[in-house]
Symmetry: C2
Amino acid sequence: MNISELARHLGVAVSTVSRVLSGNAEKYRISEQTAQRVRAAAEEHQVVPDPLGAGLRRGRPGMIGLLVPDITNPFFSTMARAIELRFRDTGIAVQLCDSAEDTETELLLLTRLLSRRLDGLILAPVGEVSDGLKEAISSAAMPIILLDRLLPGIDAPSVSLNNREAGKLAASHLLLAGHRRLGCLRGDPGAVSDRERIEGVEEALRENGLGSDHLLIAGEGYTREESIAGAEWLLSAPDRPGALISLSGQGVLGILEVSRRLDLSIPADLSLLAFDEQPWSALMQPPLTTMAQPIEKMAEKASALLSSCLADPESITAGDSAVFEATLCERESVARVASS
Amino acid sequence: MNISELARHLGVAVSTVSRVLSGNAEKYRISEQTAQRVRAAAEEHQVVPDPLGAGLRRGRPGMIGLLVPDITNPFFSTMARAIELRFRDTGIAVQLCDSAEDTETELLLLTRLLSRRLDGLILAPVGEVSDGLKEAISSAAMPIILLDRLLPGIDAPSVSLNNREAGKLAASHLLLAGHRRLGCLRGDPGAVSDRERIEGVEEALRENGLGSDHLLIAGEGYTREESIAGAEWLLSAPDRPGALISLSGQGVLGILEVSRRLDLSIPADLSLLAFDEQPWSALMQPPLTTMAQPIEKMAEKASALLSSCLADPESITAGDSAVFEATLCERESVARVASS
DNA sequence: TTGAAAGCGCTAACAT
DNA sequence: ATGTTAGCGCTTTCAA
């Protein structure tokens, strides 16, 4: 049953029912008596205004899009949950899309999402900027919030980590422990976030009077195979780094697998610091030292930014972007060594 | 720009544009020339039929709902990804909802999803059946596929694991290794899936001439705290089991944490077998013996069932439900002991 | 305080 | 092979 039928059933006008069920009874000064009657009948017959009709009329479907590179990554699934929860109360649904860390898929999905005339979009991009992506985002008819990995040259409100500082913090921790040769396993070589983290690492090295010849970088992607390949390269280098930083949450698994294969003991032979705190981080042997991101807070902030845009599209600009700080979780995968 | 404007722009009827852009050019014998012209113009002006209008007219929004208990659980996020991918090509979007393993939230979300008049719904329930849930599902106006945790008394097509057999397989493995006292850490005590797994365990015990006094069961939920509490109870029992089965993917983390705290070494002091293969399972110390579920295949099957329902609601009944088998991944967390 | 009616963008039945 | 048009369910302006 839809609201017109309900209206006929009650002998009132559709508009009255609409006003009551959309919570505008007060605004239109519907008599308390009528309102009650409508609500009761709606309850009884399980009548809810069809979002399709309402959306069409309003010009907004009451739905936002969420495009992430990998919902399987705890980082993004945690965000997805927080975002859905946050918008639930507003009566706004979340449409999920997963680009599988692939830029082409990402562009395809983004285009579709944009053509769906959603209320807005939270985009956690793969990280590489193409002309197509730039074009799509800048010509978008809906508010877009960038999440996690920013896109240089794209001017949109965003929520991200202070990657440079996080990288610096990580490297400093390793340097302070006496390490002098560092290795970084990154995810996507094109992603700014990883690049910024590496810049932070380099800055820490510099402050310790060390040049970039003390830093090895590898990694061509986020998959298990790519992580393993990168880790292999790092750990079989002639002058093997004594400490590794995994710049992505998944990368550390590759490092662990390879170090086991090469019979390198952590932290005796190799110190390890991994970005992203995971449920299993503390349960590894040894427990992993990690850089934790305030995932929920970031998701919350992204949701808040988008909410503001929905209320008033002009209220938020790229200037309102938020940057969060990572925190070091010291455990036992980093060993103190005599600095040579 | 919408299709009416485009039609005016081209000097053709809206219906023509509609027919071309909905891929029905052939069916309506639109001339190739006109079709080309429309397609080109649509491309140029980035015109896509508004799903809201189309959905309203068709009576279907071109969207399915996906309600999971915890998108943060790799089991469900992997499924979510597979499902979204599968429906992407059909042009059907996926609305994500997370019930946070809470039955009340679940019912609320389910009610909302049902009132959204979606094309269909894939429901991975928390596991407990309430009257409200039963009522909601049976009176639903859209096809619903149950995923993973079934609901007794609810007659809907479903995709699940052969939990009984999986439980039996797990227990047999432990018994064959010489263990005689087993412990199970379950998630939700109300969920059938866990109950069936436990039945399988009991069956294996029985076949080995052992009564249920050889089995300890604990666990009140899926959170870290609940897992730890359950593990603590199991491991501090007077006659502590020599082998534990984690019935949920997360539970094993609780067991690991508690066994470490109690200074129990795995597998020397305690054998461990965990349901669900995780990216980190093989990288634990020792590598974990697990029961792997064919997640992608299950997601694929659920999608296929729902697709069939969308094509013809009558084509699928509860009888078409699919049951998958788990496979044992033998690693090193189970020790062979002298059976007493 | 409530009702009538227009129209959101689209598709499909009907008309030509 | 294409055009005309009704109407999907709703909200909101205008009228009373």
